[in-house]
Symmetry: C2
Subunit: 236 residues, 2 copies
Amino acid sequence: MPIPSDLPKIYRTSAKSQVLTLLQDWITEGILQPGEKIVDTELAKMIGVSRTPIREALQILETQGFVEMKPGKETRITYLKQSDAYNIYLPLTSLEVLATQLATNLITSKQIHALEQLNQKFADAILSKDSRKTLQIDREFHQLIIDTANNPYICSFTHTLHLHAKRFEILYFEHSQEMLQESVQEHQAIIEAFRTRDVDKAKKNMEKNWLRALEAISTNLKVHKNPLSESPDSSK
Amino acid sequence: MPIPSDLPKIYRTSAKSQVLTLLQDWITEGILQPGEKIVDTELAKMIGVSRTPIREALQILETQGFVEMKPGKETRITYLKQSDAYNIYLPLTSLEVLATQLATNLITSKQIHALEQLNQKFADAILSKDSRKTLQIDREFHQLIIDTANNPYICSFTHTLHLHAKRFEILYFEHSQEMLQESVQEHQAIIEAFRTRDVDKAKKNMEKNWLRALEAISTNLKVHKNPLSESPDSSK
DNA sequence: AAACATTTGTCCGTATGTATA
DNA sequence: ATATACATACGGACAAATGTT
């Protein structure tokens, strides 16, 4: 059997990358809470690797804004305030609007078809009221557009912001049915705009999609569940 | 003498951060060339520290797109093609336009005054024909606006993109006098827009400032100086 | 095909700096 | 103020993987 030559090269997965993905997951899911102290020896024992890959992963998490390392002192999960919503969603909006603009001129009919299927799955997920699955499929829809734009910096930045947004939503926000239904409409409008290569329509709907989510967030926050989520008293 | 209590806390600078800054400088300045192989033991000997802080810095440089680590195989400085100009400058434009929007509502008269002084120094630097200094002051102008916007994600992303842009310009591009003169005008327009809190005018001029630079780049590239800057033959 | 050289990935010990009693 | 405990930063050694002869 001939081996297809265009297979994506599978790199050996280092302990570092596995730890990184694991910790990103623990932080976004809230298993590691905002403000929680991280001790590398403990994590190492817990996960079953040495301190080195733990530390290497922590370095990366710091540049992504998930932990704060005070050299020689301590390492903590970063705090996340409700007002951070703007910090996260506004640059995410700008970058995804740009991705949409670039994608409009690059997208193939095959990819448009994939977007349609994802939006259908999205609509189904909303009805199933499985909010985790719904969020997951929404992100896949957006990710396909980002991938189409084919810009490594946009891809990297939005990946980080998506993780922060997920953490934020798990901490503070529950999407309403009506809001998600509107999302389906906007997704559909983006797909139509792609078909007719209508850059302006595509961008406008992408922007609306995110800004509406941000507005919903700022007017409809979860009750403050977790004291650790707030920044500590600065008078200390 | 009373000690002012609002001093920014000076953290002990780790070997890791020093190595990181040093390598970022070497890469953007072209001392470490695109495609060049990096051996951590060599760097460690050269700089005079152990492999650990070198590796930690390399992890971060990888997430920023300056090096590529192939596990168990090799570590290389990333290639930079002329066509990467779009990848760098387009997201930078989007993010700085957003920063400008946010800054318009936050900027103080003191900061506006600082911008004016920077733009004056910028104009002087252009006449002195010291292109390094000119670029440096231009970045300080933009950085002040970004700092004013007060968004950690925008700040982090644009920092990385500024470094990539600097590397690109040193490799491929020499700003012309006329282009820089236009920049002075746009900066002035931004300052005026800040004064009157004219969000739209401020954004438009910031966008124009970057897009014009990108246009100049794509129509006026340096002669291809460096064979290593090109990606290697993909048929390998 | 197998042994070698090279380089990376991981482990763990030690020292330095920080906070607390 | 001094001593103690503790966590982090760094160093050096070993193991694993890759490419080569």
